[in-house]
């Protein structure tokens, strides 16, 4: 490498270093704002049904309008940033339309709950009550307290999908951390 090439390379490295410093500075300022607004969006969505301290989106967001499938899933953490539950958003056919449900399964496999959050609009969401009583992913039963069977099929299929998805990611949950 002759002298001019070396000089050029040095110049480029210097410019990149200055750029890197500037970017690190901007990052320091903006990163907390970004993390907070992500949390806010997730909290608005999930806190009402399954209140936890922190949430993290677990999938890459590419399925979020999929039908008859798990649309997304979120990790839920307590104040010590330990993973406590995984919340699944599923969409399955129910009474007249796709029913969107949120199913929360705790890390140890207990199904915390299943709630319908959106669906056919002739239905008042409060008319529909669905109970999953501290069941585990290996052995669960649902009690339909109110609501038509077609609508509950949307949630029931959602629970089944959430459970099987949970089983497939169960072994990797140890590696999840809130970063």
């Amino acid at each position: 490498m002759n002298k001019t090439t070396f000089k050029y390379a040095l110049f480029l490295v210097a410019i990149c270093a200055i750029a890197g410093l500037l970017l690190a500075l901007v990052n320091k300022v903006t990163a907390p704002v970004i993390a907070e607004s992500r949390q806010k969006a997730l909290r608005e969505k999930l806190e009402e049904y399954y209140p936890y301290e922190y949430y993290l989106q677990g999938d890459d967001g590419s399925n979020d309008v999929a039908e008859n499938a798990v649309q997304a899933f979120y990790y839920a953490f307590n104040e010590n940033k330990e993973l406590e539950a995984v919340i699944f958003q599923t969409s399955f056919y129910g009474y007249k339309s796709q029913i969107i449900s949120l199913i929360s399964i705790k890390v140890d496999g207990t199904i915390e709950g299943a709630r319908m959050i959106a669906g056919n609009d002739t239905y008042d969401l409060s008319d529909f009550d669905f109970e999953v009583d501290e069941e585990t992913v290996d052995d669960y039963e649902y009690t339909i307290k109110a609501g038509m069977t077609k609508t509950s099929e949307g949630v029931v299929n959602g629970i089944d999908a959430a459970v099987s998805y949970f089983k497939s990611i169960k072994d990797d949950l140890g590696g999840v951390s809130y970063e």
Binding site: T4, K7, Y8, F11, L12, I15, C16, A19, L22, L23, V26, N27, V29, T30, A31, V33, I34, S37, R38, A41
Partner: protein, 208 residues
């Protein structure tokens, strides 16, 4: 002073980056389905173009000629990264819609083009004026296309969640979502470029 003003305004029409130079077409096609996107992109490009033209004109005597393109790229990429972070922090919904194309500002030929053609050869004030003019010209065309596509495509213009204008209170079938689809982007841009070419040609005939 007159030439400084010209420097600024040449980007509006005579040397408009989209209509005349036909540069920066990727974002023009991709994001112009919503006026809000056009405004956001325009602001981002304004920042990057002004900052990069400014810095490059200030360091132009220190940069060895052979490595000027990589140096320009580093400068531009730095400011694009700044815009990415700032937008993600303060306008996350807008950023989420356009995040790829905000990053792609770094390969937008307009920015590199002005750096190479102008900022590397002029003082900082002229370079900044050039940048502002080009960025505004770019934004004007983006907004114009988006106005057409969003109005015809959805029947109304919505900015920051507030309905600005509703053209279609009666839900007439004239307004179809076709206009916000990808093929429409090509066709609308093609028609607009043809229109501007026709206007330029007519002006030339008049001045002869």
């Amino acid at each position: 002073m007159n030439s400084k003003l010209q420097n600024l305004t040449k980007g509006f029409w005579a040397e408009n980056p989209i209509l005349i130079s036909m540069l920066g077409l990727c974002p023009t096609l991709a994001i112009t389905y919503k006026v809000e996107n056009a405004l956001g992109m325009g602001l981002a490009v304004l920042f990057v173009l002004v900052m990069s033209n400014l810095i490059i004109s200030l360091i132009r005597h220190f940069v060895p000629d052979e490595i000027r393109i990589p140096v320009f790229i580093v400068v531009i990429a730095t400011f694009v990264s700044v815009v990415e972070m700032v937008m993600e922090a303060f306008v996350p919904n807008l950023f989420a819609r356009m995040s790829l194309f905000i990053s792609l500002i770094v390969v937008n030929c307009i920015i590199l083009g002005r750096a190479e053609a102008f900022a590397s050869k002029h003082n900082w004030l002229d370079s900044v004026l050039d940048a502002v003019g080009m960025a505004l010209g770019f934004t004007m065309v983006l907004v114009f296309i988006s106005l057409i596509r969003e109005a015809l495509g959805t029947g109304s213009i919505t900015i920051w969640g507030d309905l600005a204008i509703n053209f279609n209170p009666n839900n007439s079938p004239f307004f179809s979502s076709f206009y916000v689809s990808p093929p429409a982007a090509f066709i609308v841009l093609g028609l607009i470029l043809a229109g501007s070419k026709a206007i330029t040609a007519a002006k030339e005939v008049k001045s002869k």
